[in-house]
Point group: C2
């Protein structure tokens, strides 16, 4: 409203945008740049006016382009022409989201799911036989895991693979309608084979879900006997992918089509596995496919970045309503508009930094460098924590960005509605977000319980006392700090000093710990009573999911902080610290009631959090454009007419028109002004 002209001129610190870009691009910056360079070619872009059928064909042809550009082989074995570079593979794959999410996900189906199943669950013979065709797309395939009746609960899949020692074949069968494989990319049209998850039954014993390579179509292009195929038709987004259903009516495949890395059946029907526990075996197999979650987290964060690039660019050009000086005000100078966009920008930064750490972990495990069962478990927990947060954040951010652009945001050409529609499904596929967070919550409870393993009642009682002491200490600790800095004379400053890095971390970390401890305490009442246990768990389910979310937020905050510490330029570091503070404080504000109820913040300090956030927004306002430019997107990636400077040109033209009219003396007098005379 005021200081408009100055607000985005006066930047006290000068920041180094290139250094920030480097930081954001992360460990596999080169691969990201390579992918971004490739998709500058308009052949990779979404064409908005295509109907579902044409869109599907276009995306298929784009997949061939990816093959030609050698853009999808990075994870495959070197001996087959790949690079065995798992981190780079995911990084490059994520970047495709700004070309067209349908392209990203269809290539994910082909190489990340179908291809990975053969690579990760199969053995050398399978690799030699099928990977070359999968890599060059002569074998487009479906990844047939989900069933109509079982989404996130894969272990309960109904499809059966019963071994017949007479013919040395598995019989793949869909015993009831709910066991039909559902929502599979490549299933409606293009898939000629599928990796099918089914209950492996041999010698009258069910060994749980295993994965089988099942040809769907003969060389004549006609579906093989027993294969049922249906089209899912129109979806809320991703309509460039031919999702569909597959069912199997006693389809026979050779014994050797079992992808047998973690479980095998001998010709006589004897089952063997390197992993004794059926539960652990199942989770190990599923764990090899974690990359889907990894890449969705990254792609979502970059989609949020693109949304903010568009909305913040527009908000610095678009003017609406007159200010005190009679000039119309640029949207981003409104307090509410800053509040809508800047905390989301801070969160997007946090997610991109957290994602790079996550990707390093992934690369460590899959390269074999740091591949222990603990590493794998950590990786899965990370994936289960970060994928929900990033994917929900993308929907929230793209929606806020679209609303912040008003009617222009609703025009398809401006990208926001299309990206949001396409990313919608990211929050429930590759594991429903709530179920993933529940997994994280269970892991947190397990880790918590480990502390007491072998401890007696006295130790537990002592711990309980410690908890209370900690609680009291915390309240006191923060209060003392507040008093100490209050001596500086300014209450606002005192709050800022009391909510710096160390205190933010303490508040966020303590919250996770305390929530988990509280839930564990409430669950303990069940003892060995299974039914009571189930009831108590259900009563605490929503809060456990909240605790898991808090854990993910803490991870993001820590990653942001680590990134800030790596910045060498002092001025850049200062601005990124403000942005990190904004991220931390908006988390604290979101959970303010919790911090108050649990004595972590005094009411005075809590009341000051919101105005501190307002001050941070105002402080960051002059850097908003730099901070979105740092995402490194070029015009061929952005492609939204409202983010091209067109709005600025229109506004300038309008202002020039009125200025000229006034100067010419031909401007009409306003009736209001006339009345005042």
């Amino acid at each position: 409203m005021v200081d408009v002209a100055t607000a985005h001129e006066v930047k006290n610190p000068q920041i180094d945008v290139e250094q920030i870009t480097e930081l954001l691009m992360g460990t596999w910056a080169d691969t990201r740049r390579e992918a971004r360079e490739m998709i500058k070619d308009s052949a990779f872009w979404r064409k908005d006016d295509l109907g579902k059928d044409e869109h599907r064909e276009r995306v298929l042809s784009q997949l061939h382009l990816l093959v030609e550009n050698r853009a999808v082989h990075r994870a495959f074995p070197k001996r087959l022409g790949g690079e065995e570079n798992n981190g780079a593979n995911i990084a490059g794959f994520e970047e495709l989201v700004v070309a067209d999410p349908s392209l990203q996900i269809k290539s994910g189906v082909q190489w990340g799911l179908f291809g990975s199943a053969v690579l990760q669950l199969g053995t050398a013979e399978h690799h030699d036989k099928w990977l070359p065709g999968i890599m060059d797309l002569s074998i487009p395939g479906a990844f047939a895991m989900t069933e109509i009746g079982h989404g996130s609960d894969v272990a309960s899949a109904g499809t059966t693979a019963t071994y017949d020692p007479e013919t040395e074949e598995f019989v793949i069968h869909t015993p009831f309608r709910g066991a039909t494989k559902e929502y599979l990319g490549n299933a409606a049209l293009h898939g000629v084979a599928a990796t099918v998850f089914a209950q492996l039954i041999t010698k009258g014993v069910s060994h749980g879900v295993h994965c089988f390579y099942v040809p769907l179509r003969g060389d004549d292009g006609v579906d093989l006997p027993g294969i049922g195929r249906e089209d899912d038709g129109l979806k809320g987004g991703l309509n460039g992918i031919d999702n569909g259903r597959l069912s199997f009516d006693h389809v026979r495949i050779p014994r050797t089509n079992l992808l047998n890395k973690y479980g095998d059946v001998a010709p006589d029907g004897t089952y063997t596995s390197p992993i004794d526990s059926p539960g652990r075996r199942f989770f190990t197999m599923l764990g090899t496919l974690v990359q889907g979650r990894v890449s969705l987290a990254g792609a979502s964060s970059w989609a949020s970045a693109l949304g903010l690039k568009i909305a913040i660019t527009y908000a610095t050009e678009r003017r609406q309503f007159g200010g005190a000086d009679g000039q119309e005000v640029v949207l981003l100078d409104y307090g509410k508009h800053q509040r809508r966009l800047l905390p989301r920008l801070a969160t997007t930064y946090a997610q991109i930094f957290a994602h790079d750490e996550f990707l390093q972990k992934f690369d460590g495990v899959f390269s074999g460098r740091t591949d222990t069962p603990d590493d794998r478990e950590d990786l899965e927990t990370l994936a289960a924590a970060l994928k929900p947060l990033s994917t929900w954040h993308a929907l929230d951010t793209l929606q806020e960005a679209r609303e912040a652009c008003g009617g222009a945001g609703f025009m398809f050409e401006n990208r926001l509605v299309g990206l949001r529609a396409d990313l919608d499904i990211y929050v429930t596929f590759e594991g429903d977000n709530n179920i993933l967070l529940q997994l994280v919550g269970k892991r947190l409870l397990t880790d918590y319980a480990k502390q007491f393993k072998g401890k007696d009642a006295a130790a537990l009682a002592k711990f309980a006392v410690g908890q209370t002491a900690g609680k009291v200490f915390h309240g006191a600790g923060l209060r003392q700090l507040g008093q100490a800095v209050a001596d500086l004379g300014s209450t606002a400053r005192s709050v800022e000093n009391g909510l710096r890095e160390e205190q933010q971390h303490e508040l966020l970390a303590d919250r996770v710990q305390q929530m988990v401890a509280d839930i564990a305490g409430r669950l303990r009442a069940a003892g060995k009573d299974k039914e009571l246990g189930a009831r108590l768990f259900n009563e605490n389910q929503a809060e456990l999911i909240e605790a898991a979310r808090a854990h993910g937020e803490l991870l993001q905050w820590e990653a942001f902080t680590d990134a800030v510490h790596r910045v060498s330029d002092a001025e850049t570091k200062k601005v990124l610290t403000w942005l990190r503070d904004l991220f931390g404080l908006q988390l604290i504000e979101k959970h303010l009631a919790w911090h108050l109820i649990n004595g972590r913040l005094s009411t005075q300090r809590a009341a000051a959090v919101s105005s501190y956030i307002d001050r941070l927004c105002a402080r960051l306002r002059p850097y908003a454009l730099d901070l979105v430019d740092a995402f490194g997107y070029e015009p061929e990636h952005v492609r939204a007419p409202i983010a091209t400077g067109a709005e600025r040109a229109r506004q300038d033209e309008a202002r020039a028109y009125y200025a000229e009219l006034a100067a010419s003396g031909a401007a009409p007098i306003q009736e209001k002004a006339l009345k005042k005379r």
Copy 2:
């Protein structure tokens, strides 16, 4: 998890679903039923597989069907074949949303905006000349208010209408690109005329924005000279409407095409108006078009209802993951799932009840029964408060419903993604939601200031003391109440008793008052310093919008409570009271930090709010299906395959398959079970 089988069997009170339906359908229940009956005809339904162009033609043909069914004439003058029944008109119009939101909004453009402009801003001559053709759709028209450069800020529109006394014509002109009329339904293709808002200039004086009837196309179907027309192309939703842009290059129209109810120009160019103040005149003209906001609020609430009908029906049929008894659990028996859907159900009820009161107010004003300037102002404030809340709630609810249905929710045929995409724009059109709430906030500040009009400094000081006393009293009041009921012995009960109707109202109402008082206090510092005033206002903008939201929530809560009081059946009243409590308590939970910081709730009581909500959800669980059935939708309205019982049939088939297999003795043994032997 537990009590699953019993949870949805044991309903202690039996509720009267029909009575609830009657209550929800409200004052114009008959019209709603008539409209719902009409749209059972599949000719009115959205066909998902149509591309934009075919969808546009289909919706145009559906508009003709509406004319044939006499479904759109209710608001027009009796002498022209209408009914002059404004309330019924809106009620019937809202119901169209479940047929196809494109149909709803295109008919809104034709009869609610274009037609209403002629009716409300024009005079008898205009009515006679154009309304018959508008009513029978021989004159499809656009409502040209918004410009590329000016969305919600209509007063700053750039289009000019300059009077030329020589020819007794107005010259309509678009002086720069930003003044192009934008996002107009019927502008890309079907409109043959438009009501154009432009700055009226005569004798060198600009009298502000007025509305003009401008023919776009001659009888030959060709655009008239000077008319520029562009197509907006694909949008995020509502693609059955041909939105586009209109520009005017010195287009001449007769003087009498000025819709002159609130301002006229004599042949010699003399301007007259029954309203002396240009500001009040402008707001009066705009106020006559409030029905758009009224109907969007209602349509959104009913769309939320439909989304919940689909998601809750599915959640009572869909099973996932095994419970303690080995059977898979129905989704709605999970604590988190209840938490996701039931508070949104409560909010939808609140909105539907609030909307009916709002519609009564609207009908009172527009019928002339209660048409004072105060009534008009109240109506506009109501519209500005309720439209944002209902439209945002619809997006939130449809999204949560879609996620709660997993992949099935993403399939277009299940309606949720389509409705959400179509309703997306409701939050920014007919006034951007944030700007509308800011209007409400300003009104609250004005009303607050009125209390002090003519009072001296002493009175103000006395008030300030009163404020503090009130604050202290409140804290004490609630604490006392808590202590009194604590004597009953149960803490949980004591919380429930301390958060009943009266206390909920107190908490919600006090919050509005206190927030407004706090903001007013902070703004007062500016005194007569305009620049400081603008800066302070901007700093408080986000909170003022929050205060306005709180005001809207209070209105909804009061309407829900009034509705509950009207229920005669005691058991039904009990269940609806729980639902109202759920609505009130989730509002209190959402703003818990505020209540804590402002001493309205003790930490103990605040901590109990969430578990009270959990208990309410569990208590309402057995009634969830009844409560969505009470919306009165029939299969022809729902049309979502997942809400037809298909899922139940699939689940039953699967369970029967396993039961039969177990009974036959042919079931494979689980490896896990084998190992335990």
